[in-house]
C-alpha cells in the first residue's frame, strides 16, 4: 500500500458506503486502513463495532463513574481485536446498561439483518464468564513446552560448544517442534526463537564461509549489544568495583587487560577514579589484543579514545598496546611492571 493508494475510495462525506476500506476486498477481510493503525476489524464488522462504540460513549457521557471502573478493575483483552475489546468493556458495565442493548433500536442506518447478527453474536455476561477467552493466559501445554524448550536449548548449546554436532542437530529438530506449541510472539517462545536460529546458523553454515560481516559492522553490532544488554555492562561493573577497592589508597596504578577489544570496560573505571575522594591516581593501562585484520591499528585507536576521555576528566593516563596473536606470546617483560605501582 503506497502513500497514495488508488484503491481506496476518495470521498469520505457519506457513511452509507461501508466499503470506505480498500475497494475490491471481500467484507470478510480486515479493513486494511485500520490494520495500518494496528487494529484488526473485518470490513463486515465495522458497523457493529461502530455501534458498540457509540453505546459505550453514551455510557461515558451519562454515567462517568463507570469509567474509572473500566479503567481499573477490568481485564483488557487483546486491544488489536477491536470488536472483542469493545464487547468486553460493554459486558463489564452494569447489567442494566448491557441488557439495554437487546431492546433498543440501533438507529436508522442499520438494517434488520444486521441487528439479528449482532444479537446472535452476543453472549450474555454469564456465558462470557464461563467460556475461556482468547487471552494471553498460557495453557498447561504451553507452559510445559516452554519449560522444556529452555532445558533443551541449554543442552543444545552445550552440545554445540562440546562439538557434539549430530546430537545438537536432533535437539534443534526437537526445539522446532516445541516452538509450534508455544507463543512465539512474546516471552520464552520469542527468546527461544532467536537462540534456535542462531544455533542453527552455527551448525549449518558451511565451514569457511564468513559468518560475520565486515569489521566495522561487527564493531557497530557489538556496541549495540553492549548498550542493549545488561549482562556485559554488569560484569564490567562488578569487576570495576573490585578494581576500585583494590586501588584504594594508591597513587599509581596499572591495569593489564588481556583482551582489550573495544575497551568498553574502562571508561566507567576512569570516571570512577576521577571522582575518587582525594583525587584520581595516575592510571596506566596496558591493552593486549590480536593483530587487526583490516590494517587499522585498533588497539591504538582504543587507547587514543580512552586517553581523550581520561584527559577530559583530569585523570593522568598512559596507554600501551601489545599486539599478540596468542596469549602465550606475551612475555612478562613486555608488560613493564614497575615495582612501586599496584597492578591488576
Amino acid at each position: 500500500m503506497g502513500p497514495y493508494d488508488s484503491s481506496t475510495s476518495g470521498s469520505g462525506i457519506s457513511s452509507s458506503s461501508s466499503s470506505s476500506s480498500c475497494a475490491g476486498k471481500s467484507p470478510d477481510q480486515m479493513d486494511c486502513l485500520l490494520a495500518g493503525g494496528g487494529y484488526r476489524v473485518r470490513s463486515s464488522e465495522l458497523r457493529r463495532v461502530g455501534q458498540h462504540l457509540e453505546r459505550l460513549e453514551k455510557v461515558m457521557v451519562n454515567a462517568p463513574s463507570q469509567i474509572s471502573h473500566l479503567g481499573n478493575d477490568v481485564v483488557h483483552h487483546n486491544p488489536s481485536d477491536l470488536g472483542t475489546w469493545v464487547d468486553s468493556l460493554l459486558s463489564d458495565l452494569n447489567p442494566p446498561e448491557y441488557s439495554d442493548l437487546r431492546y433498543n433500536d440501533f438507529g436508522p442506518i442499520l438494517d434488520p439483518s444486521a441487528v439479528t447478527s449482532a444479537w446472535t453474536e452476543y453472549l450474555t455476561p454469564e456465558q462470557q464468564r464461563i467460556i475461556p477467552q482468547h487471552l494471553t493466559v498460557m495453557t498447561a501445554m504451553e507452559e510445559d513446552s516452554s519449560i522444556r524448550l529452555v532445558h533443551v536449548l541449554m543442552t543444545c548449546a552445550e552440545c554445540v560448544q562440546g562439538g557434539e554436532f549430530s546430537l545438537a542437530c536432533s535437539l534443534i529438530d526437537e526445539m522446532q517442534d516445541l516452538l509450534t506449541r508455544v507463543n512465539v510472539g512474546c516471552g520464552i517462545g520469542k527468546v527461544a526463537c532467536y537462540f534456535i536460529d542462531a544455533l542453527s546458523r552455527r551448525l549449518f553454515t558451511p565451514q569457511g564461509v564468513a559468518l560475520v560481516g565486515s569489521t566495522n559492522e561487527n564493531e557497530i553490532l557489538y556496541h549495540h549489544f553492549y548498550e542493549a544488554s545488561p549482562y556485559l555492562k554488569f560484569a564490567h561493573f562488578t569487576a570495576n568495583q573490585a578494581i576500585l577497592e583494590a586501588f584504594d589508597g594508591h597513587d599509581c596504578v596499572h591495569v593489564i587487560d588481556f583482551n582489550l577489544m573495544h575497551g568498553l570496560q574502562w571508561p566507567a573505571l576512569i570516571q570512577a577514579l576521577a571522582l575518587r575522594p582525594g583525587g584520581p591516581p595516575v592510571l596506566r593501562l596496558t591493552g593486549i589484543g590480536p593483530p587487526s585484520l583490516d590494517g587499522r591499528d585498533s588497539l591504538r585507536e582504543t587507547g587514543v579514545r580512552l586517553a581523550e576521555l581520561a584527559r577530559s576528566v583530569n585523570v593522568q593516563f598512559a596507554f600501551r598496546g601489545i599486539v599478540a596473536s596468542r596469549l602465550e606470546d606475551v612475555k612478562p617483560l613486555m608488560l613493564q611492571v614497575a615495582r612501586k605501582k599496584l597492578w591488576l
Binding site: M1, G2, P3, Y4, D5, T8, S9, G10, S11, G12, I13, S14, S15, S17, S18, S20, S21, D31, L33, L34, G36, G37, G38, Y39, V41, L46, R47, V49, G50, L53, E54, L56, E57, M60, V61, I67, S68, L70, G71, N72, H76, P79, S80, L82, V86, L89, G213, S214, N216, E217, I220, L221, H224, E227
Partner: protein
Amino acid sequence: MVVPLNTWVLISNLKLAYTLLRRPDGTFNRHLAEFLERKVPPNANPVDGVFSFDVIMDRETNLLSRVYRMADTEGRPSVDELQKPLSSDIVPVIIFFHGGSFAHSSSNSAIYDTLCRRLVGICKAVVVSVNYRRAPENHYPCAYDDGWAALKWVNSRPWLKSQDSKAHIYLVGDSSGGNIVHNVALRAVESDIEVLGNILLNPMFGGQKRTESEKRLDGKYFVTIQDRDWYWRAFLPEGEDRDHPACNPFGPNGISLEGIKFPKSLVVVAGLDLAQDWQLAYFEGLKKYGKEVNLLYLERATIGFYLLPNNDHFYTVMDEISNFINS
C-alpha cells in the same frame, strides 16, 4: 456521519481508550495506556521502499527516535549502511513530533509509524520521529527540551547533510506535536541551527477564555473542552493557567517575534476541530509579526483526518506538505 466509517471507528476507539486513562485527580493510567497503544517495531527491511530503525539521541533522558529512510536497493541495509550519507543532492530531513495531547502515543505507535512512512514517500525525505517525554509525568518544558535535543542531534549528523554540507531541516507535528514544532523553532532562532520550515497539523493551542468554536463544537466531534483542560493541566507547570505562553503563544503572556528570523510555516486547521479559533489566532499572530505563513483551512475535516488516506482532505494536505517542502 461526516467521516468514513473506519475513521470514525478509529478515532472513537482512541477517544474511548483515552477517557479510560485520564483520572479526575489529574493522574494518568500509564500502564493501561501502554497496553492499549498499538505499537510496531522498526523494520530495516524496506516496505514500499521505506525502512526504519530506532536511535538513542540522548542517554541521560533516554530520548529515542525512529528514523525512516528511502531504500535505494531491494534488500535490507546492513547495520553500517543504516546511517549511510544521503545519496541525492538535496534531501529534506523532517523532524516529526507525533500528537497525543502531550500525554498519549509514541514514535512507535502504529498510526504514527504509518504516517511517517507516508511522509517519506510523499516528500522524498528522511523522517526522524521524536519520542518526546509525555505528560503528566513530565510537564513543560520537557517535551520542548527533547525537541530541541533532537534538532541539535539531526543538525550534527554528518550522514543527514545534503550535498551542500547542510542539513535541510523541517519541523512537522500534529496536535501537541504542532505545538512542539513552534516552540522548538523558537529555540532554534537564538542558535545557528537553521530550520527551513514548520508544518503544524491541527496544532494544540489554547487559552483561558472560551472561544466561540470551543463552545460550538464541544463534544460534537470526538473532543471536549473538559478533556482539553485536563491535558493542559497535565502539561503546563503547576499553578499556571492556559494563558501560559506554551499554550497561548500570542496571548497576554506571549512572546514578541519582532525582528526574529522565524521559519516559514504551514498551518493546517480542521473546520470541525473545537480548537480552531486558537489555531487561527496562531496564524494571525505569525502574520502580525510579518512571518511567512500559509493557512490551509479544511472546513469539513475533523481531528485525525490525516491518519487514514480515505478522504479528500488527506490528499489535499499531503499535496500541500509536499509542495511546501519541495519548493
